[in-house]
Amino acid sequence: MSGLRLSGIRKSYGDNPVVKGVDLDVAPGEFLVMVGPSGCGKTTLLRVIAGLEQVDAGQVVMDGQELTHVPPRDRDVGMVFQSYALYPHMTVRENLAFGLELRKLPRADIDARVAEAAKMLELAHLLDRKPKALSGGQRQRVAMGRVIVRRPRLFLFDEPLSNLDTALRVQMRGELARLHRQLGVTMIYVTHDQVEAMTLATRVAVFNKGVLQQLGPPLELYHRPANTFVATFLGSPSMNLFEARRDGAAWVGSGFRLDAAGDAAGEVKVGLRPQELTVAADGPFAGEVEAVERLGFDGYAFLKTAAGPLAARFDGSMAVEVGQTVRVKPTGDAVHVFSADGARALRHPEARR
């Protein structure tokens, strides 16, 4: 079988389990983003794939070859580190060539590959500088170049954009996506930033506390989150969650009543994305506006309701002020339903792809 397969990966540091049994398949050419809050085990898993960490249990198999105990240099895997880890005592050119020299490639080959990568990453004019003399974005590109020149079958990224400012991050995101298209190689990318996950990934794997929560294309995760963790983790502001119980054809919580579809019953959690709520006089939720974020075209109002805090979108033209009491209603079929402990999704809105 081709691609990467992780099965039953476990890893703990001392008495502290970090990865608690992860199974994961990555198809060739895929851009998999592993996302989750810090300490969720995503970076550890990446390092397991790289070979920098030894597993306590489980297997790493790539293209049918068992890699679990193969040293990193024989795995044909490249990795971009969060801090870039550029060798401060080498020039950009030496940094790029280092891995190739270690593999004893012919000089001409090395030069050609370095030149190619430099051109691709627009580093050609920086080749003789030391990393100290580069800007953050340039360093980032060198770190990527260092992997590119080696042409590994798998690229690993450990939060590579977290040290850049917003504008650069957007630009680099674009470059990463372009790179993926251009090279067509498998990439695994770790981040805690859901925007990166949503924009870059062909598939997203959400982790929490060492456990894989859900794996799938970004939009599927957004629209059909498997549990409340995934539901709240993806999307900004996060999904509103309220405790509710079934009462005939409605979900009833403290201070609200929503039309219920589907056949879930008993105590549940209902979830509503702020983007699918709008301020309207006839809404089921009422609350005092505590904060307002105006983004221009539209904005978000943060309400204190009887069921708990709630965020809702409103049109830029609407007048919503702090201190006002407003009502909010869902736009169409918007209700997600989760089991009371949040571990299972019971229903997602219809007609969403």
Partner: protein
């Protein structure tokens, strides 16, 4: 921050004073070395009354009864012994310090403690057992014995220094090299060592100084004047009944000069090398 003119002036005054204090005794030795007598010149002025290079000529031109040029040979002995001490000491220290900084293994903490403890036992009482040991090892009357003793005696300090510095080198750099395909040895040689250059420079300097300045052991172990190190030769000017101060001062300057030169050559590393171990952001 901009300093006012007065503050800057005061800073300069303070530093100039400090420099005068630092240089005064040295100038005094220079004066002794240039004076025409062998006596301890005793006046407050550090400026020589009369200048002659006789003492330097005597010290440098010393030969033994067989006409061997002692100074040249002793200089060679000092260079060889100190150089090899530095090399041996540093290679031992570097590997040990790296292991202590990076790996977990049993006895590690005990080892670190032992290193510190060895600094606390006065060295004077170790001469007798040491001599027996070196004889057992067949290393009496050889530079090898000296080199071995010197390099081990400076080891504890070197290991401490280097370990502190290695602790500050980000592990990610080594991991990056591993991902680039480097073997553990390549990681160590191509990434860690070049990065530890300031600390290496400082520890090398210390090893070198230990060997370069020592004379009791050298005089005790070596049985040929032409293979003595320079400080032993220098010590010969201090006799039981009288000291040839002029020769001693000239010799002292000649012995100190290379160390000073090294200090100045390496001084840009000194600041970083000594402190980086302890200061990590």
């Amino acid at each position: 921050m901009k300093r006012s003119g007065l503050v800057t002036a005061l800073v300069h005054v303070g530093l100039v004073l400090a420099c005068v204090v630092a240089l005064y005794p040295v100038l005094w030795v220079v004066k002794l070395a240039l004076a025409p007598t062998q006596a301890l010149s005793l006046s407050a002025s550090p400026i020589p009354d009369a200048v002659t290079f006789d003492h330097f000529r005597d010290v440098v031109g010393a030969t033994d009864s067989q006409g061997r040029w002692l100074f040249g040979r002793q200089l060679l002995a000092s260079v060889v012994v100190s150089g090899l001490t530095t090399l041996v000491g540093l290679s031992l220290a570097v590997t040990a310090a790296y292991a202590l900084s990076r790996f977990r293994f049993p006895g590690k903490d005990a080892g670190m403690q032992t290193l510190l403890i060895t600094q606390m036992f006065p060295a004077t009482l170790m001469l007798v057992p040491l001599f027996s040991l070196l004889q057992t090892l067949g290393l009496l009357d050889s530079w090898g014995g000296l080199i071995l003793v010197y390099s081990t005696s400076s080891l504890p300090f070197c290991v401490w220094m280097l370990k502190g510095y290695f602790d500050t080198i980000p592990r990610e750099l080594e991991e990056a090299a591993v991902m680039d395909g480097a073997s553990p040895w390549q990681v160590f040689v191509k990434v860690v060592l070049p990065l530890a250059r300031p600390a290496l420079a400082v520890t090398a300097l210390f090893s070198f100084m230990t060997a370069w300045n020592e004379f009791i052991l050298a005089a005790t172990l070596i049985n040929d004047a032409a293979r003595f190190t320079l400080p032993v030769a220098l010590q010969q000017y201090v006799g039981e009944w009288k000291t040839e101060w002029g020769h001693f001062a000239a010799g002292a300057l000649l012995v100190s000069a290379p160390v000073m030169a090294l200090f100045f050559a390496l001084q840009r590393y000194l600041v970083g090398g000594l402190t980086a171990g302890a200061v990590k952001g």
